[in-house]
Amino acid sequence: MIISRFLRRGISTASTCATRRSWWDHVTPAPKDPIIAVTEAFLADPFPYKINLGVGAYRDDEGKPVVLQCVREAEGKIAASNFLESTSTAVSSKFVEESAKLIYGQDSNVIKERRFAGIPALSGTGACRLFAEFQKRFYPESRIYLPDPTWSNHRNIWRDVHVPDRTFRYYHPDSKSLNFVALMDDIKNAQMVLSSLLHPCAHNPTGVDPTNEQWREISSLFKAKNHFPFFDVAYQGFASGDVERDARAIRIFLEDGHSIGCAQSFAKNMGLYGHRVGCLSVLCNDKIQAMAIKGQLQQISNTMYGSPPIHGISLASKILSDPDIKAIWLKEVKVMATRIHRMRAILREALERLGSPLNWQHITNQVGMFCFSGLNRAEVYLLAKEFHIYMTPDGRISMAGVTTKNVDYLANSIHEVTTCDQDAKILHNTDAYRINTDIRFTSLGASKSRARGMNLSL
């Protein structure tokens, strides 16, 4: 195949340069990223009351992006000298230490004994990618175990490093809650798995988190099976409003003596989205091993981008290490989480007030930025087409996009597409909900269950 491709080129260049075929003829257009495709569709829509419930970026009650006060304060204190490569190492080290303290606990032994290998990473994506590369390099026969469903980019990450993935059951579509029994079962039976990826709080996309008791059981099972727990911590502070509380799962695992890995993102909880601020840490036996692993991680990042940009790292480091600024940050995280809790409550009340026959308890039971609404693809499509409300095809709603001003319109629209009158329309309009070819659905095994007609309560 390769030879013929080259021959084609060779033959075509025998003629003039002007008619030579392009090198890139065989490059097909890439499918659009499903989450980003939602935002693009939203932006292209001229409807004045459109709502974007796609990307998980926080919005205030005016629907506007927010630059946190703590970020502005930190920025004022950072000198332009941060551009100098000579100060970068010191800033990076400080940042990593502060990040580790945030997730493992200020007084954790892990920190005291310097038993962790940590490097700054390009937000959560970058941290996961570094770990995936590390896994491929040192455990080439292993697999990654992902919850079903999970953030769509997780599969892309491990796929691009050629580590095969398997899924364990997680979400119970009928009850819209955790399928705990199945989860435990799947972990028990896992093969060739090095690492299982866990969302310690505010699971994306479902918002369904294990309870503390369930975390303890999961931790014990992991220990018995010798699974390596890898936590993707994208929402510390966003779930409950309290950063310590949101780290509970990790602390439970630490208490059990696990060595874990953590991908931390400061995109949401510090609003540093575009600065790409994150941290990858891997817990080790001792300081020496930590240094060895850190060196290897650095080598991996050296061939991908060198090191992450210093601006965002400086901001996060400042916010975490300056007590006054940190206090502001913690308050702001609470404000953001509280607004989301409130929107959940209001949306649910609104739907119930409309007399919806469906059970909407999951809206307030689920945690974090996202609500797995249970809306099916046809309903999602209709919401976009008829009501100019955009969300990912799996029915995931970013609650951050809900405001006091649009929540009634949202509730009404959801009610419209989910009431029985619509069913007839949907059934007849098979073409209407044929998937837009630009959008790929990557939700793993997302159920098409019509459980909504079953009025199940949790």
């Binding site: 990223d33 000579s86 040192f138 790409r276």
Partner: protein
């Protein structure tokens, strides 16, 4: 600690390991094509087809060794540890002032301040990066009036400095030209081969540096490019070759382009020093523009680490000049697809600074002036070094290569033993390949350096 043994459904014969479970020797990170068969974290006892899990206190990470130290950073560390008053650090390629201090460009300070005042949001950039940045970066490289830009034939994606941009291109090559080789110069920047290794792109070298002349082995270069399998990617330094400082002449560039066209190769430029070589942004882009003017499809990676001093903000771009706008659109979409599972979207800060500086006429003018100043300082230092060498060395050796070489680096022609002498006797820190960074040299220290070089060259073999 949890016991750390994984039980596999079927353990191969390699499962039995020696008691310390570590493969002898370091993991060879340079050869990612070799599959590491040894399960470093695994300890099993095989009894026929059944493997029993053996509990141990050995961590799953036991087999992971220290990575080899980075040779360039190692130089800086050794320098820091040296207390000699005359010590000189000619290792890392970061610009220093005459006082040998790091330098933040005035335009960058201004742009940074403007950004602070604007107080823009920090939302995610699109995967391809900041549109304003992508526009100015392509215009800067190809010229704003270049037909390829007007015809929208360039796929430009913001990358994390030169490294990140090269990596995106490498991943594109691996995916769409599987088996195709990249040819890199001998020598070249140390990280090039690492990038291609980790991207699983095979590479080989073309002759470049001629130690006999301390110049370009042009015949060797052409011969090696000719000999490469058709459709290879030829990695070229747009200007200010790193590490030698030796650039082809304009005539030589034309011949290189001829051969590349003849052999159906793809030119792949790494432009890390636009503006830094001659002091002129346009002049330094001449080689790339010449290839593009011939109608060739070209890949070009850019970095703003040196010319805007934005090392730590990681800002650069990958450009793919295609035959049609449709090609460019498709290529861009695939670059985005590669970037998404690497880091989702690129960082915003550096992009805004560059867009600000390059997009604003007044700031752009100022930048040009600062660049001329930085490049000028290096040229002055070269002159002084040459003068010092010529006047102090009575042997008649021709030191003019110092003047012919261009950019931040010079290949002195010193061998390893001579370099060791430079460091051990004279406390001059440089990389063992004989490379010195002129950015780290002041006029005041030229005479001292000349003494060191003359001594090492003549008295050490």
């Amino acid at each position: 600690m949890a016991s750390s043994v994984l039980s596999l459904a079927s353990a191969g014969p390699s499962a039995s390991l020696s008691s310390n479970g570590i493969e002898k020797g370091k993991l060879n990170l340079g050869n990612c094509f070799k599959k590491e068969k040894t399960n470093l974290f695994l300890k099993t006892k095989s009894v026929g087809r059944i493997s029993m899990v053996v509990a141990s206190d050995v961590s799953r990470f036991e087999g992971i060794t220290m990575a080899p130290p980075d040779p360039i950073l190692g130089v800086s560390e050794a320098f820091k540890a040296d207390n000699h008053e005359l010590k000189l650090n000619l290792g890392v390629g970061a610009y220093r002032t005459e006082e040998l201090q790091p330098y933040v460009l005035d335009v960058v300070k201004k742009a940074d301040k403007l950004l602070l005042e604007k107080g823009e949001n920090r939302e995610y950039l699109p995967i391809e990066g900041l549109a304003a940045f992508n526009k100015v970066t392509a215009e800067l490289l190809f010229g704003a009036d270049n037909p390829v830009i007007k015809q929208q034939r360039v796929a430009t994606v913001q990358g994390l400095s030169g490294t990140g941009s090269l990596r995106l291109a490498a991943a594109l090559i691996e995916r769409y030209f599987p088996g195709a080789k990249v040819l890199i110069s001998s020598p070249t920047w140390g990280n090039h081969k690492n990038i291609f290794n980790d991207a699983r792109v095979p590479w080989s070298e073309y002759r470049y540096y001629d130690p006999k002349t301390v110049g370009l082995d042009f015949e060797g270069m052409i011969a090696d490019i000719k000999e490469a399998p058709e459709g290879s990617f030829i990695l070229l330094h747009g200007c200010a070759h790193n590490p030698t400082g030796i650039d082809p002449t304009p005539e030589q560039w034309e011949t290189i382009a001829d051969v590349i066209q003849e052999k159906n190769h793809i030119p792949f430029f790494d432009i890390a020093y636009q503006g830094f070589a001659s002091g002129s942004l346009d002049t330094d882009a001449a080689s790339v523009r010449m290839f593009v003017a011939r109608g060739m499809e070209v890949i070009a990676a850019q970095s703003y680490s040196k010319n805007l001093g934005l090392y730590a903000e990681r800002i650069g771009a990958i450009n793919v000049v295609c035959s049609s706008s449709d090609d460019a659109a498709r290529v861009k979409s695939q670059l985005k697809r590669i970037a998404r599972p690497m880091y989702s979207n690129p960082p915003v800060h550096g992009a805004r600074i560059v867009a600000s500086v390059v997009g604003d006429a007044a700031l752009f003018k100022e930048w040009n002036a600062e660049m001329e100043m930085m490049a000028g300082r290096i040229m002055n230092v070269r002159q002084k070094l040459f003068d010092s060498l010529s006047s102090k060395d009575k042997s008649g050796k021709d030191w003019s290569f110092v003047l012919r070489q261009i950019g931040m680096f010079s290949f002195t022609g010193l061998n390893k033993a001579q370099c060791d002498n430079m460091t051990n006797k004279w406390h001059v820190y440089m990389t063992k390949d004989g490379r010195i960074s002129l950015a780290g040299l002041s006029l005041a220290k030229c005479e001292y350096l000349a003494d060191a070089i003359i001594d090492s060259y003549h008295n050490v073999s």
